[in-house]
Symmetry: C2
Subunit: 459 residues, 2 copies
């Protein structure tokens, strides 16, 4: 049997490793085609490498091709797959740097893990030198090289105020640049509700980052093919470097070319075992990671959530199944977290906007509390917001903004969302208490109490 993997990052390599664990080299040959220079790296770590928290790029790489080779996994870097022939059960590839010529590789199982591609708007000048995406480690290396090559003073414009945009804006400030962040929504970090986003705005301003919200971009102005400014409806923002943090979309070109149908989010659709839906020619074809869509367990809708944690889990599940085992990926609930300087921001479940879109009638409750007993040194304030279904009190979502020790509390809320707890049931939860870790009423419990009152008030 032969497994071909398209894409050598989290999902693809997790699948390869898990398949190998269950099948010896005599039973299963594994070949991985990876377009870039690296395998299994932490794309999420790129902003921290650029910002200097992490000094060694190698630290971002979990496992190298040499390590995979010891597992009898044949990783071919700088090999781009150009086509999938589902009838012949072959993939077609080419060497990115090497001699021209077509490579054909047959498969019994195909693992599609091509990841995502940055959303690049059709702005004039968006291909100019000095305009960077932040998707692959190669992208990160390019930004790193640019920064090293261009001494101060330098002006950066980061377009997009989501996780990667905010993280990159902070990284740029740490590298001594003047940074302006542009976000089209009323508040940055639109993955949380605007009332929480307003707190993130303050933290961003506190870093010395200029921020424009409700901002639109009309194009990139260039000189000799090099970025000079970002053009908005009203003015030109001078820029020596532009970073695009506009999100990503599933990288499904190869799949679409092969006639594989896409889901409504643009991602590939799989069953619980990460097998492509459809059967027939798609038998033995698996997909995982940033190229697939997942079911959101609370809205019941397909969503595209490109996160390393899902890619790893999905890849593992696919690999176990390819190797003859049994595992399922149960869907997502929209948990995410980031850090803006000392501010921690986390969410799980549905935001207000998402709850409305899913058709829920809901109440909200926000509380301010502290990370430790009020009298204990280092107690820091945090805000927790809960969203609960009107009548039933079902916890639909939660958001946290706070200082240290705030964000990881989202995990307890994520497990509560996962288990479809009501906010009233949550008031009885046996959470840990000691003065260095929480007030005697943990902020999560206080929020649950307030949300319970809000639910009762609707009856």
């Amino acid at each position: 049997m032969k497994l071909v993997v398209i894409g050598g990052d989290a999902a693809g390599m997790s699948a390869a490793s898990q398949a190998r664990k269950r099948s010896g080299v005599d039973d299963l040959q594994i070949t991985v085609f990876e377009r870039g220079h690296f395998t299994s790296y932490s794309a999420c770590g790129i902003p921290y490498w650029i910002g200097g928290h992490v000094t060694d790029r190698a630290a971002l790489i979990t496992r190298t091709p040499q390590e995979f080779a010891k597992q009898d996994i044949d990783v071919r870097l700088r090999h781009e797959v150009t086509g999938i022939d589902l009838d012949r059960r072959e993939v077609v590839a080419r060497r990115v740097d090497g001699p021209a010529g077509e490579i054909r590789e047959g498969f019994d199982h195909l693992m599609y893990a091509a990841g995502a591609v940055p959303v690049t708007p059709p702005w004039p000048g968006v291909d100019a030198r000095g305009v960077f995406g932040v998707q692959t480690l190669d992208d990160g290396a390019a930004i790193h090289a640019w920064l090293d090559a261009h001494p101060a003073p330098r002006r950066a414009v980061v377009i997009g105020g989501g996780y990667i945009g905010v993280e990159m804006a902070e990284a740029m400030v740490r590298r001594g640049l003047d940074v302006t962040l542009l976000e089209k929504s009323p508040e940055p970090m639109s993955t949380v509700d605007p009332d929480m986003g307003a707190r993130v705005r303050k933290a961003i301003l506190g870093l010395g980052i200029a921020i424009r919200t409700n901002a639109h971009v009309h194009g990139i102005e260039t000189t000799d093919g090099r970025v000079r400014a970002v053009r908005t409806p009203d003015d030109e923002l001078p820029a020596d470097i532009v970073v695009l943090g506009l999100g990503v979309r599933p990288n499904t070109t190869l799949a679409a070319d092969a006639g594989i149908p896409l889901g409504e989010t643009g991602g590939l659709r799989t069953d619980l075992r990460m097998r492509l839906l459809g059967g027939g020619r798609l038998d033995g074809v698996w997909a995982a990671g940033d190229c697939v869509e997942s079911v959101h367990r609370i809205s019941g809708r397909p969503v595209h959530v490109p996160l390393g944690t899902h890619a790893n889990k999905q890849g593992r599940v696919a690999g176990i199944n390819i190797g003859g085992g049994y595992a399922t990926f149960p869907g997502v609930i929209g948990t995410a977290v980031t850090k803006v300087c000392e501010l921690e921001v986390a969410r799980t479940g549905l935001t207000e906007h998402e709850a409305r879109a899913a058709g829920y009638a809901y109440v909200t409750a926000s509380v301010e509390s502290t990370s430790r007993a009020g009298y204990y040194p280092g107690a820091a304030t945090m805000t927790i917001k809960l969203i609960a279904e009107k009548r039933t009190g079902l916890l639909l979502g939660a958001q946290i903004v706070g200082r240290e020790e705030a964000a990881k509390r989202i995990d307890a809320l994520a497990v509560a969302v996962w288990n479809q707890m009501t906010v009233e049931e949550m008031t009885g939860l046996d959470l840990s208490y000691a003065p260095p870790f929480a007030p005697v009423w943990d902020p999560v419990l206080i929020a649950a109490r307030k949300a319970t009152d809000a639910v009762h008030a609707t009856h």
Copy 2:
């Protein structure tokens, strides 16, 4: 209507406040008898006050009698209830400091919140001067005064290596004493399994605390009524001060004297609304806090878990019900946390010992991981241990020992235990991930994977 509350700490005052919120002063008179000098204080904060983390005793007091007076709650400090007359519906009290004489107060509702009393063994000399318990803020004040009055060099022996013992040992070291900790079990912190306790031992030793495990005490040696040494089977341990951290038992003397039956743990038995079980003469009698026993949701057994977090929740539930509302206390799952210098220790659910006692066949899995992505600055190691039912894979319990940002992860595990998740289901949990907060596989997920393998291996 008239509510009399016995005990003015967490449970009693929570009940009083909640009852008042629902009943105006014309509908409900509320009188609280409190033996000590304080209301609503954080007993859990005492070690941190003695150790100097918290410098102002007042900070430990959540609300004063004056604040309760504004809510029309009549708090009588230094009033000891000496009897309960269930037939006449009266409590009998006396002033601790004031003029002799019996005070009788009738009630419609009686809230029994007398808390706990320290376990004091029948050792000769245990009443000597210089031997202290750590149960009430008055106890804490006495230790504080002793330390202020006795300049160095001073030798302390702390008897009992549980939460309070370890916290007090650390506090004493911070105050410059030579400290020896005695614990009768093979490892300190016997509320976690010995393999985890061994890690706590290292942290205790690292603080410069001498520790003797498997230790027995035969008595306290005195000179002129003052402690001089602790006598063990083998030697005498010189001591200027002895702190007893041997746990507490429910303070039920008054209840027992009134003919109220006790549960098998020695605590009062209540229904879900915190009403005493039994009916008849017990109608209108409620109990909450360290004097009651709770149902452990995983073992199904009654347990006595004297923690402020439960006292607050139970008191709130009782008060809502007394005030005509509806609330229930759903039981406990044994969650607890503490900090030993930089080491964080947390648990939830059942330990191995408790799982065996409850009749479970189980598997365990322990993993070492880090609090942040391995490459992110400040990533600290932690150990997570899971206990899962053999065959079903039901998560029975979890323990964490680690450095910063480790212990609060127990809450996600507590919510998983609460919801009777299996370790296999947990492998799919959508927990938060970003490099400053977790490796891409959160330690909780890695532990769940390993425990799943252990469960499968039994099939």
